[in-house]
Symmetry: none
Subunit: 190 residues, 4 copies
DNA sequence: CATGAATGAGTTTTCATTCAT
DNA sequence: GATGAATGAAAACTCATTCAT
């Protein structure tokens, strides 16, 4: 029945460990299926320790979700002007680098749908500007294309990117080919 | 409220009402966040009434999920040979007709990922056969296309189809254009 | 959804059937483990029918228990004077003829212990009068013998009598031999 | 009552208290009639505390039952050869020392009948070997005697031993006298 | 800094009983 | 005489959170 501070223990370390384990489990099982007991077991500390560093289960999850969203916002902050190819690339690179946070923010968070709606809007804006450059887009509803693109990105991220079967670069290129690249078609047509 | 039979009460009606409410709530909040108390409140009966008609929360949810999956299997049963356009159409029509069940089977069920994997496989098979017909596919990884298509379908279903902003027919056509139709591009190119 | 009186149905018949099934199930599973739903299922009627004939689960069980106890009382009513052999015989014959009621009254009822205490008292009284006739009893505590006899009777009833491995006659004789019969011993001794 | 640790609280103490109370109540009311709420009320803690120390109501009961059975097995383990007098003595001593566990294992457990059947078999084996030494046994069915003895032991245990009206030593001697001891009879006969 | 011990507030599920037909 | 439909009351169990050490 030893109590009190562990030898070599260190607050910041415990906090980081808890955070890491929380991300792992949240990203896999989702918010409701993740129990505090799971997290602390994985971090090898007790439940009260969790509350030493985080206000509540909810606030931690919210923090993680917001971190994801914040990062996402930062990506598109500086230069207002992006080409769709850059948008796709930047997204995939970010997702590839933060797979677990991405799973949380894109699939597990209750307002992941908002995040996606925002991205879709972004796509729309960009495509609106670029539509003349892609013959393939002619006659197509940009809203539909944007939503479709969002769907493609989220699924490819989940199944091929995060699983490391493909790289962000590869997937960017493939997506661009699918959605906007007439090379093949044009070549053939000629 | 007193015990015993309600005036004008009717078992089949109650069961259907409960089922309907359950589908509504399951499809919105998911399995874990849906409480029996939510369902019975919506159906204006008490908790034991739920157990009069359903074995448990889990078995009801499983039934709904399986109904969705069964329907899906039936779609592709008869003629073994489908063209990708038919596959997409049939999916979207089915989803449009069963929006809530679709939400459950495609987004809320624990094994929705399996359903999608199966669909992706289907896409791959069909595309493998048809690849020569679509110049756009040249040089592209069919697996990636299939996954991407799955993503597009699931997102368009969720955001445009189920919300009745677009019809299954419209979305099928748009998807075909995006993924396989060179018309516009070719026309322009000429 | 047919409702109302069954063709050929008959109140007394239903009541008897319910009673019979109740006895069967109560005797096997005990009061708390027996559900009204078990009883009515066995009798092939619905739950409200049970309440048509019996006030409640408890009152039916109490009735059965009291019937057992009443019968038991009747056995020893008339001639005040019994020999221990007669007491044992009469008990075993009654138990053999009413195996299920016996199981209820002797093993399942909450106050079966009272019944047994009363029987033990009876044994004591009778033995007190007869003790001179049985040399084996000399020096032994009649209370202990009476309790022991009660235990023997209840166990033999449960394991050999009710299972029809032995008859009441056989067991009476054997019990008398064990507890009071010196024949063998004396014969040998001489 | 507030949340969190009680002043001076101690886990092992709480667990033991819960166990003790559980044994008391299980032994009196049986498994089904014992509610967790009874146990925790008796131990002056809340229901979750119960689950802090025990997996479930069932597993606790099973543990207690198995403890009883294990002890019982241990009694007869070492020397394979026992005389019936020793068997009876050892049983009664064990029962006297563990009255509540005995009530659970011998009367309340769902498989107490198995325990008794096993004991009866033991009696049979031992008596088979010793039958020549007891003239009283001549002409009697050893199975009946064994069952009868089991009944005597269980009843005497319940009514005289556990209630501390008689000691294990006294009851052993009395049982031996009743079942196997011709002294008195013989003495008289001579 | 960290733990051991405990609890409030739910959640699913069961069962005897009772109305309306 | 009998059923279909419903419910009140309680049971076991879970989980995020909190106090005392």
């Amino acid at each position: 029945m030893v109590r009190g501070r562990k030898v070599n223990s260190n607050g910041e370390k415990s906090k980081q460990l808890l955070r890491t384990k929380a991300i792992e489990i949240f990203s896999t099982k989702g918010y409701y299926q993740t129990k505090i007991s799971d997290i602390v077991k994985a971090a090898n500390v007790t439940q009260p320790t969790f509350y030493l560093y985080f206000e509540s289960k909810e606030s931690l999850f919210l923090d993680l979700k917001e971190e994801f969203q914040q990062n996402l916002n930062n990506i598109f902050e500086h230069p207002q002007e992006f080409r769709i190819s850059q948008v796709i690339e930047k997204l995939l690179y970010y997702f590839a680098e933060n797979p677990l946070l991405t799973k949380i923010g894109l699939y597990q968070s209750d307002d992941s749908f908002l995040v996606k709606e925002k991205l879709v809007e972004k796509f729309q804006q960009v495509l609106e500007k670029e539509k003349n450059q892609y013959h393939l887009l002619e006659g197509l509803d940009i809203k539909t294309i944007s939503q479709s693109l969002m769907g493609s990105i989220e699924r490819l991220t989940l199944t091929l990117l995060i699983t490391e079967q493909k790289t962000a670069a590869e997937l960017s290129e493939e997506l661009l080919s699918i959605y906007f690249n007439q090379q093949a078609a044009l070549a053939t047509a000629k």
